[in-house]
Amino acid sequence: MTSTTTRTTRGRVAIAVLLIVAVVSVFVVRLVDIQVVQAEGLNAASLASRSDSTVTLGTRGDILDANGVVLATSILRYAIEADPSAVDEFERPAADGSGEVTVTADQAIGELATAMGLDPAAITAILSADPSSRYALISKSVDVATYNAIRALDIPWLYYKADQSRSYPDGSVAGNLVGFVGEDGTALAGTELTQDKCLAGSDGTEVTETGEDGVAIPGSTVTVTDAVDGGDVQLTINSDLQYFAQEALAQRVTEVGAESGTVVVTEAKTGKILTAAEYPTVDPNNIDATDPEYRGAKVFSDPFEPGSTFKSITAASLIDAGAATPDSQVLAPYEYTSGDAVIHDSFYHAPMPWTLTGVIEQSSNTGISMLSNNMSVDQRWDYMNKFHLGQKTEVGFVGEDSGDILPGDVSGPTQLDDQTIYNTTFGQGLTVTAVQMASAYQAIANNGVRMPVQLFEGCRHADGTVTDAPAASTGEQVISAQAAQDTVHMMESVATTGYAADAIKIPGYRVSAKTGTAEMSDGSGAYGGAYLTSMAGMAPSDDPQYVVSVTIRKPVTITSGLAAAPVFQKVLSQVLKTYRVQPSTVPAPELPTTY
C-alpha cells in the first residue's frame, strides 16, 4: 500500500464527512427553526386551518308572574343572508328521488319569496343591489317555521345565522311593567331594563377541530369561555288579574272618552303590587303600534295631583296626631276664606254641620281645610314624609318619579302660600304617582303599618338560588292602628251613602273607598278645566286585605269620581273572587256624618 493512495482515501473520507456534517447541520438549523423558533405561529396557523370556533349562546332569563306564568322569554330567530356573487342555477335532488333537477336562480328566488311571504321582486332587488358582493341581508329575523321551510329549499347561496330574540306570550298584559328589548338585544324599558343585571346572560366560545367535511374530530372540543345563562325575574303581578284590570280599565276609558287611566292593586298585608294596569299599554311584541308616550310604566313615572282621594291621608294624619276624631265637628260653608286662601266646595251648599266622617263622605274641601287648622303645617308634611310621599318607592323601577310634595323652589312647607297650604289637604298642589297613592292606602288598610312596595320577588339563577330578594321587613308604623281603622270606617260611609255608593257596591262585602276629581294643571301653573277622576279604597273593611286605586285622566262624558267607580268595583270584585276572600260577617259601624 503506497502512501499516496492512503492520502487520497483520507481526503475523500474527509470531504464526505464534511459534506454530511454540512447537510445535517442545514437540516438541524431548519428543524430548530420550525420546531422552536416559529413553533408557536405555525401551530396556531395549523390549528386555525382545521378548527372551527363557535359561539355558544347564553340565554337571557325569563320574566315570570307570581304564579310562574311566562311574561317574557328568549327564543331563537334566524337571519337569512345571501352571497349575491354566487347566485346561479344549481342542482338539487328531485322531489321524487329520480336523480337531480336543475333549479334556475329566478326559480329559487320565487320559492324563497313564497317561503318568506315576500314579493320575489323585493328579494331580486336585494340580490342585484351589488351583484359582485359576497354578502346581502335578506331578512334579519324569521321564525322557526319559515327557517325550516327555507332550509328545505337547499339553496346553496343562502347562509343562516341564529340569534336570540324576545317573545312576550301575553302581549300587552303587563307590557308596561315587563318592558322590551331593542333589535340588538339591549334592554330598553321596564323590568327588562330595571333587572337587566339579573336577566342578561353572557355568550361563550367553543373551539372544535373538524375534518374536511366539517365533522368534529372526537375529543378535540375545547371550551374557551363558558356560556352563562341569565337568571329569571319573578314579579309579584298576577297576570290574569292584570289582564282583567287592563280590559276593564280600557273599556271604561274608551267609554267615557278619556285619555288614559291606571289601576293599581296591592296586597294590604305585604305591600306587594298584584296589578299595575294602565291604558294604553305597549304590546312588547309590537312596540311601534304604541305611541312613544305610553311605552313606559306611567304608574311609576307619571306623577299627578291626586285630588280628593288625598283627603283620607289628611284625615288619617289628623286622627293620629289627636287633632281630630271621626266625630270632630265642623260647620262647613261653601266658601272658606283664610288669609289669602279661598277654598270652594265642588257643589253649592248652605253651611253644613258635618263630622269628619261627613266631610269625607261628602268630600268637602272647606271642611277638611278647616279641620286641618288643628294641626301644624310642618306636622302635616311630616306625615306625608312618613307615608313616603315625595320619595321614590323601594321598587326602584326604571324612570320612576318621586312626585313632589313641595315645589322645587321652596325649602319648607311653612314657606308655601296660604292657598297651596290648604289645597294640599285635598290633594291639589302636590303630586304623587299611582303606586305611591296605592302604597299610602296600603298603610291605612294595614292598621297603619306601611310595608315596602314590592314588585320583584327576586332573581332566580339557573342553579336554583334566589338573589336580590327584598329583605324581609316588618314595615313602618306610620299612624296608629286605631287611626287607621277609624279612617277605613270613615271611608266606608263613602261606599254606603256617598254619591258613588251604588256604583261601587259589592254584594256581601264591606268596602271602604274615597272618590276623587282633581283639576289637572295645564302645564303652565293654571288649572285647565281637565279632570283626573279617581277612586281608591280597600276591602273587606272589617279586615282589609286588598287595596285598589283607579285613576282616569281627562274623561269627557263623566267628569266625577263616577268615571272611575265601575272599574274600581269590577277590579275589586275580581280581586276578592281570585283570592277567595270570605264575605264580611260583621255589619258596618254607622259613624254619624252630621251632628
Partner: protein, 192 residues
C-alpha cells in the same frame, strides 16, 4: 485512529528475531466446547410481530370506531338541534295560546260568560254566602276586546267558531231547577 485489524501482527510487541521459531506457548485456541447449537427462537419473533400487528389492528379498529362515533354524534347533534327548534316553535305557540286574551276570546266564542257575582258555600254549616244569580252576557264584568289589550302573537283565526247546537241529537234541555236539592247539614264522614 488506527484500525487494529489492518495492522500486521508483527508490529505488535517487540519485533521477533527473524527465523526464530514461533513461541511454543502460543497455541491456537481450542475449539469451543461443543455446546448444543442455539436454534433461532422463532417464537420470540412471532410474538413480537404478532403483538405489533394486534396493536396496529386494535388502533385501526379504535379509530374506525371513534370516527364512526364522531359521525353519529354529529348527526345526533343536528337532530337534537332540529328537535330543539321544533320544541321552541311549539312552546311559542302554546304560550301564545294560553295567553289570557286567547282564552277569554275563545271562551266567549263558545258562549261562555264570566259571572261577576261571587257566592260561597260554607262547609261548616252549609250556609250560602252571597246571593246566587245566573251569569248573563249583559252582566259580564268584561267583554274581551283584542283591540284594547292587544297581543300581536295571536292570529284572528285562532278563535274557535261558536258551536252550532245540534237540535236533533241534543237532549231536550230540562228547565233548570232553581231549588238547592240538599237539605240539612252536608254529609261528612263519622270517623273519630
Amino acid at each position: 485512529m488506527t484500525n487494529l485489524a489492518t495492522v500486521p501482527i508483527e508490529r505488535l510487541g517487540a519485533p521477533a528475531p527473524a527465523g526464530e521459531p514461533r513461541r511454543r506457548w502460543l497455541s491456537p485456541a481450542p475449539d469451543r466446547v461443543a455446546r448444543p447449537r442455539q436454534r433461532p427462537r422463532i417464537v420470540y419473533a412471532a410474538v413480537a410481530i404478532g403483538g405489533i400487528a394486534i396493536i396496529a389492528l386494535a388502533q385501526l379498529l379504535l379509530s374506525i370506531g371513534l370516527s364512526d362515533g364522531a359521525y353519529q354524534i354529529s348527526s345526533l347533534q343536528s337532530e337534537q338541534k332540529d328537535l330543539a327548534r321544533t320544541n321552541q316553535a311549539l312552546t311559542e305557540q302554546l304560550t301564545a295560546f294560553s295567553s289570557p286574551q286567547n282564552l277569554v276570546q275563545n271562551a266567549q266564542a263558545l258562549g261562555m260568560v264570566s259571572n261577576g257575582n261571587t257566592v260561597y258555600l260554607r262547609l261548616s254549616d252549609g250556609a250560602v254566602l252571597g246571593s246566587p244569580t245566573p251569569a248573563s252576557a249583559a252582566n259580564a264584568p268584561i267583554a274581551a276586546n283584542q283591540a284594547l289589550v292587544p297581543n300581536s302573537l295571536l292570529q284572528p283565526e285562532q278563535v274557535v267558531a261558536a258551536p252550532v247546537p245540534d237540535a236533533s241529537s241534543a237532549p231536550q234541555a230540562a228547565a233548570p231547577d232553581p231549588t238547592v236539592p240538599w237539605q240539612g247539614a252536608l254529609p261528612s264522614p263519622q270517623t273519630h
